[in-house]
């Protein structure tokens, strides 16, 4: 049980700045997930928390104490690696017992602690096997067991499931949720799979280019992203973005024009900054519908590019005359016919506005 604060942490390798001014506060017992595209600095941040990577600037506080200069082994953090990093010449038991052996714990204590971790992870029958004789999922469990045995204050996971197949990944995800419930320990988890992030996280931290873009609950980020990057990164299929001009601004509504060429849209909005002339609309697929005909000005004409029919849901990919791609989610019925021309209608309640710099423009 430990809380963690990261204050003004930056990191560069030579001239390359990998992390910039990271500030983050993690409460005790929280399950925090770092997500972001490859190379955005997630692993680096995690490794700085573990102490494997130095944190030359800023502070990392664990339970209130600054740990920047504390040896990784003494911080009370345990890490599970993407490649499992199991010692190939040791049995599962010896792997899990390694930290205790290094600490010269008595044999009985080692046996008891490893036994307990093995029971939690249902590994009892596999303890005599070497990593080469274990399946991917079993290896991952041993790696987690090795972390549990150390009774750490914080668990760190670096893409622990990315080497598993989809089915096993779903299963291990469920097991991790149970494990977290059982142990109640603070866990920090890195992934670039946003579905994994959404299902696991109490708190989700979205990173890009070495900067924390936004953090909060998964649904909080889904519904109310701070910027275009977060909006686009979370959710599958991606949020649609359409450029538009601001035609008229009133106190509690604005009118947008030139959507997809020539459509108009009336949006309820308070205190819009009248200086902004151009915006970008973000609309998730579920907030767009196929309309019957071009009846009103808020309906956009589009061309069906292709259709993904998944049974329960259908994604209709359409191209606007401006060349923008608009994906429509339709769960009502299977796609009707193969008409290449269609009409789409945006739901104003689901439209988010972004400035040309990518920042969100919120209604006050």
């Amino acid at each position: 049980m430990a809380d963690l604060q990261i204050i003004n942490v930056s990191k560069s390798y030579g001239a390359v700045e990998v992390l910039r001014d990271v500030n983050l506060s993690i409460a005790s017992g929280e399950f925090v997930v770092f997500v972001g595209p490859s190379g955005c600095g997630k692993s680096t941040l995690l490794r700085m928390i573990s102490g494997l990577e130095e944190a030359p600037t800023g502070e990392i506080r664990l339970e209130g104490k600054v740990v920047n200069r504390v040896d990784p082994a003494k911080r009370g953090v345990a890490m599970v690696f993407q490649s499992y990093a199991l010692y190939p010449h040791m049995t599962a038991f010896q792997n899990m017992a390694f930290s205790l052996t290094m600490a010269r714990e008595p044999k009985a204590v080692i046996k008891e602690k490893v036994g307990r971790a093995a029971a939690i992870l249902r590994l009892e029958r596999l303890l005599d096997r070497r990593p080469g004789e274990l399946s991917g999922g079993q290896k991952q469990r041993v790696a987690i067991g090795r972390a549990i045995v150390r009774e750490p204050k914080v668990f760190l996971f670096d893409e622990p499931l990315s080497n598993l197949d989809t089915e096993l990944r779903v299963q291990m995800r469920a097991e991790l949720i149970q494990l977290h419930a059982k142990l109640g320990t603070t866990m920090i988890y890195v992934t670039h799979d946003q579905v994994e992030a959404m299902t696991l996280a109490d708190k989700m931290v979205v990173m890009n280019g070495g900067i924390i873009q936004q953090h909060g609950t998964p649904l909080g980020l889904y519904d109310d992203p701070d910027n275009k990057f977060v909006a686009g990164f979370i959710g599958s299929p991606k949020m649609n973005f359409i450029k538009a001009k601001v035609e008229a601004v009133r106190t509690d509504a604005i009118t947008l024009s030139d959507l997809g060429g020539c459509s108009r849209l009336e949006l309820p909005f308070r205190n819009f900054d009248a200086d902004i002339r151009e915006v970008e609309l973000g609309v998730r697929t579920e907030h767009i519908d196929i309309a019957q005909d071009a009846g009103t000005t808020d309906i956009l004409a589009a061309k069906v590019a292709f259709v993904e029919e998944l049974g329960d849901v259908t994604f209709i990919h359409t191209d606007l005359p401006t060349g923008e791609r608009l994906v429509v989610r339709s769960s009502k019925a299977r796609h009707r016919g193969s008409s290449t021309e269609c009409f789409v209608k945006l739901d104003p309640a689901g439209v988010l506005l972004f400035g040309t710099n990518g920042e969100r423009i919120r209604s006050a």
Partner: protein, 292 residues
Amino acid sequence: MTTDVGLIRTAAPGYALDLSIWTVLKWTVAICVAVVAVFPIIWMINVVFAEPGVPVSINPRLLPTSLSAGIAKIDTILSETSYLHAYYISITYSLLTIAGVLLIGSMAAFEFALFEFPGKRPMFVIVMLSLMVPTAVTLIPTYLLTANLGWLNTMQGLVVPGLASAFGLFMLIQFMRTIPREMIEAARLDGASHFQIYRHIALPMSKNALVTLAILIFMQTWGNFIWPLIVAPSPQMYTVGQVVGLFNAPFSHVTVDIVMAANLLAALPPLIFFLLFQRKIVEGIAMSGSKG
């Protein structure tokens, strides 16, 4: 399509005939080469295990004729010369060299392969450049240094100058590079000290490379002729190689069969080693060759 079938049908018997001629030829050549390769060794064995006074070369036989005569000759050599002592020296020399090279080589390889530290690049480059320097150039100055240290005719004089083996280091570095960085980091998080990581992770994981290197060093020290010749010229420190050299000297007044018995005794350890570890030896050489 029909023409195709016809072609195959007519071509097949000729091809099969071709194949069998090729096979016969190949086996003949292989067996001849094999005979040439092992003949001197078999001849040596034949000369030893034959009644004395009948030079085998005059009456070539394929198989040894007298086990007891051979044993008697070996017994003569072991009891009437200091061959056993030379054996002891050679074995000690080999074992100490192996232990030393493996220990200090693996320690240095561990650092060079897996960590960064100041001066690493230049040190590494210098050591690797030394692989290009012929032994001829260092031989005499090293001998003089060893002499100045008062190590002539001592075991340390034989062993210590050969311990910093750049070849051994290179081979171990190549191998240890394949240890994933995450493995080292996991051990570090598990509370292992730097030395413990070396001892409990890197060493056991490099077992194969260490064994291969040990075998290669054994072959090399056992066959090393020139260094013992100059640094340990006293009969007290004769290695097997030197003793064999004496037996073979032109005016040694020893009969062929006794000489061959001495040679056989010298050949035995590497031959046995080879029979036991042939895969490792061959692969070790192939590895160091195709990567070097």
